[in-house]
Amino acid sequence: MFDLTGKTALVTGASGGIGGAIATALHGTGATVALSGTREGPLRELADALGERAHVVPANLSEAEAPARLLKDAAGAMGSVDILVNNAGITRDNLFMRMSDEEWAQVLEVNLTGVFRLSRAALRGMMKARWGRIVNITSVVGATGNPGQGNYAAAKAGLVGMSKSLAYEVASRGITVNCVAPGFIATAMTDKLNEEQKGKILTQIPAGRMGSPEEIAAAVLYLASPEAGYVTGATLHVNGGMAMI
């Protein structure tokens, strides 16, 4: 159903499970993709696996100058950036009372400010093209909260407000801005949990299982598609019913 032939997409955090699945889904429907992340090795492996129409553009989004440079690199490699998927994110979990200023600032810097800067850089080309898609990967915890993740939840909730404001500003130019909020997704990160922890989590999920990265990627693919042109400022929750909001 979805055809992204001729479109160009920049995916951050593409070396991770969800980011890799997103890039693969966009590529699979014809898009040219630029894979970004801090670790070049896994990005290169993914690009090789995808074959043609895949570029590697490493970046460390915790540096203030990095987003503008990354956008330039991606547009240089692909000719434009029609679709931006802000998937990169870090965690620095700690109890609120023990959380350091640095743990707070690092998470806000990458997960919120980095997205602001990269989106700002991408808008110029999208405005000129009168077409653009920005999809921000948030999290169920941005809506529900989560103990030990005050910084992460703040950044993810912040993305939702930011996305809605930007969606207002650029809707008349054919640009949509949406969020996808994953629940518990089976990745390298959740593999580390023991059976008891996993069992506890599963009791909270009506679907009775964790989601797959491909199920997040499918939501992103929809929002990136021409078919979703009338959807903007929305958050699509993909969480097996864990939080029905």
Binding site: R124, M127, K128, E169, V170, S172, R173
Partner: protein, 77 residues
């Protein structure tokens, strides 16, 4: 009109879809030509491209009329 003024006028006509005779030096993009704030951002982007210059944000804010744009661009090219 100078060459720069002609090119500015052409861009304004194209971007805002207004009649050429309304695009006079004293015309305000927002008050007289019906531009919204995002249109003014786009106009600045178009000027930057047409003339190969960079218009910093603080300068862009001072460009309110067609004449302002022509004056700024004359000083920048």
């Amino acid at each position: 009109m100078s060459d720069i003024a002609d090119r500015v006028k052409k861009i304004v006509v194209e971007h805002l879809g207004v009649d050429e005779d309304k695009v006079v030096e004293s015309a305000s993009f927002i008050d007289d030509l019906g531009a919204d704030s995002l249109d003014t951002v786009e106009l600045v982007m178009a000027f930057e491209e047409e003339f190969g210059i960079e218009i910093p944000d603080d300068a862009a804010e001072t460009i309110q009329t067609v004449g302002d744009a022509v004056t700024f661009i004359k000083g920048a090219v």
